[in-house]
Structures are given as structure tokens and as C-alpha cells.
């Protein structure tokens, strides 16, 4: 009987009022994670950095997505454009980050894959990559190109 009466009050309070962190500073800023080794201690800190893209940003005139409004026909050899949609390890950025429409996001992800297969972005690869396309396995080391008209998007 005694055990039945023991009620988990603390659990109820936690469920009713979940712990909220309160911050007085704007959390939402572009951050870079830096690891600094000082003696024996490793300090990992998020540093607010400017993206560096603001002065070179294209102006959009309408409400379409950035690529649709610019009217660009991006090819897989335009690595200076494609690399803007890629993380430093070669991963495609998600749509909530790129802000593209559904079609252009799909098309851009295919273009990224094409450029990577053609070995045009060897510096944007995972850390385990050999970087040099000539060192790839088997037939993948030979030069190849792609036809953008083969991209089929509904």
C-alpha cells in the first residue's frame, strides 16, 4: 500500500514543464565550430562568422527560387556555381538551407553528382578521399562528361 501511494511528483513536473534554456543573445547566427588545443584541454567552441557571400550575392527581382529567378542554365562544368550548394565534404545542402524550389534542388543535386563523378570538385570531398581523380578505382579514373539533357525531372 505504501509503495502505491509513492507518486513520482518530480516526473510529473518535468513532463508538464519541460526544461527550457533561456538565452538573452540571438542564437541564430552563422557559426563555425572550432577546436583549439590548449595544453591538455581541448576547447570546442562555436564562433559566429560572416558567410562572406553578402557582397557578391545576386539580387532577385521576383518571388521565385534563386536559380529560377536568375534564369541560369547551370551545367555540370560550372563548378563555381555548383560548389555554392555543397558542404566542404561534398555533401549536397538540404532544401531548407539552399532555399531552392523542388525542381531546382533535384536538378542541382544531380549536377553535383555529375561534377563529382567527372572529378571536377576534388577539393570538396570527404576526409578519407584520395582527392586525385586519377587515383580512383578501375574505370572511374578516366575522364568522363555528362549531358544535362539526360536529367529527367517531373
Amino acid at each position: 500500500m505504501n509503495t502505491l501511494l509513492k507518486f513520482n511528483w518530480q516526473g510529473l513536473i518535468k513532463a508538464a514543464f519541460p526544461l527550457r534554456t533561456l538565452s538573452l543573445f540571438p542564437k541564430l547566427q552563422l557559426k563555425e565550430i572550432q577546436e583549439v588545443q590548449e595544453g591538455k584541454s581541448l576547447i570546442i567552441k562555436g564562433v559566429n562568422v560572416p558567410s562572406g557571400r553578402e557582397p557578391f550575392l545576386l539580387e532577385t527581382e521576383n518571388e521565385l527560387c534563386p536559380i529560377c529567378s536568375s534564369g541560369l542554365e547551370v551545367k555540370h562544368t560550372d563548378v563555381l556555381i555548383i560548389s555554392q550548394f555543397v558542404r566542404s565534404d561534398g555533401c549536397m545542402l538540404p532544401r531548407r538551407v539552399t532555399g531552392l524550389c523542388r525542381r531546382q534542388q533535384k536538378r542541382m543535386s544531380i549536377l553535383v553528382a555529375m561534377a563529382q563523378k567527372a572529378g571536377l570538385m576534388p577539393n570538396l570531398t570527404p576526409a578519407t578521399s584520395k582527392k586525385d581523380p586519377k587515383k580512383r578505382f578501375g574505370w572511374k579514373r578516366y575522364n568522363k562528361y555528362f549531358d544535362e539533357s539526360t536529367i529527367k525531372i517531373r
Partner: protein, 178 residues
């Protein structure tokens, strides 16, 4: 014969030497271009019975490019003549064995099979890299234009060029750089 006419005669029948850089070029598209120079099809004096073809030096044949996955889709067939002597070699395998062979076969197959074909092929000089013997190189007087532009890799641009290229999107404020 007047001196001018004599020079014109020499210029008409002299063999011209062309050079072609095959890096990032489709060998089958370039074969259609090279064959015109090898057979002399572009000359007004061309006739099938008139041997007026030129020499073509092809450099960087190891750097040819094929579209998509054609390196593993294109197959070269050979038969020794004995039973069970058939063999199929993928294009990349052939290219690994001899980096001039894919282009050579492409040019050979682009021409009609007649008695002239073997002699026309002798005027084609293919080199896997850009090292050409000086005795051949001193004859060259024309460069054949490449069909497709050579792509530039991202690491070949300077850091400033990459940074100052017009940007289409900006990263959102809550994005953590990786």
C-alpha cells in the same frame, strides 16, 4: 611555268601537318573531324582517286573523355579464330592497356573500308601525352580546334576567384558551417 603558278602547285599538293589536343574530347566525335583532314576531304582538289590527305598529330590521347558510363558500356570484340577464342574487352580496359587504341579504332572505324584506309591511318600519329618527337613537331603548321571546351576543376581556380564569384544563395543565419 611562272614562278607564282609553281608555288601554287607546291602549296596545293604539299601535305599539311595538323596537331589536335585530345584531352577531354570524345574520341568518336573527334574521329569525324580528324578523318576530314586525314583524307583531305576539306580540299577543293579532293577526289577518291587523288591521294591528298594530310598528317594529323594527336596529343594527350590518354585524357580522352567518354560520356556518362560509356567506359563500361562500350565493348571491343576480338576473335582469335580458334573455337572459344572470342574475347570482349571493355573500353576502359582497352584504354588501360594502350591509351592510344580507343582513339585509333574510332578514327579507323569512321572511314570506309577500302584499300586506302590503311595508308590513310599511317598519316595519323597518336601520342598518349604531350611529348611529340621534334622531327614530327617541326612539320606542324596548323592546330585543329577542340570540339568541346576543357572543363576547369574547382581547385584550379584561385581562392580569390572562388570567393568573388557571384553567389546565388546565402547561408541561413542558423547554419553551422561544415
Amino acid at each position: 611555268m611562272a614562278a607564282l603558278k609553281r608555288v601554287q602547285q607546291w602549296a596545293t599538293f604539299a601535305r599539311v601537318w595538323h596537331i589536335f589536343d585530345a584531352s577531354w574530347q570524345n574520341p568518336f566525335e573527334s574521329a569525324q573531324v580528324l578523318k576530314k583532314y586525314l583524307m583531305g576531304l576539306y580540299k577543293p582538289i579532293y577526289h577518291p582517286m587523288n591521294e591528298c590527305g594530310d598528317h594529323v598529330i594527336v596529343i594527350n590521347s590518354a585524357d580522352i573523355a567518354l560520356p556518362g558510363d560509356e567506359w563500361v558500356k562500350r565493348v571491343y570484340f576480338h576473335h582469335t579464330g580458334y573455337p572459344g577464342g572470342a574475347s570482349w574487352t571493355l573500353a576502359w580496359d582497352l584504354h588501360k592497356k594502350d591509351p592510344t587504341l580507343v582513339l585509333k579504332k574510332a578514327v579507323y572505324n569512321s572511314m570506309d573500308g577500302n584499300l586506302q584506309r590503311r595508308y590513310t591511318m599511317e598519316r595519323l600519329h597518336i601520342f598518349p601525352d604531350s611529348k611529340v618527337p621534334g622531327a614530327l613537331m617541326k612539320n606542324v603548321s596548323n592546330q585543329i580546334r577542340q570540339i568541346r571546351p576543357m572543363p576547369k576543376r574547382l581547385d584550379e581556380y584561385t581562392e580569390k576567384e572562388v570567393k568573388e564569384f557571384p553567389k546565388i544563395i546565402d547561408l541561413p543565419k542558423d547554419y553551422i558551417l561544415r
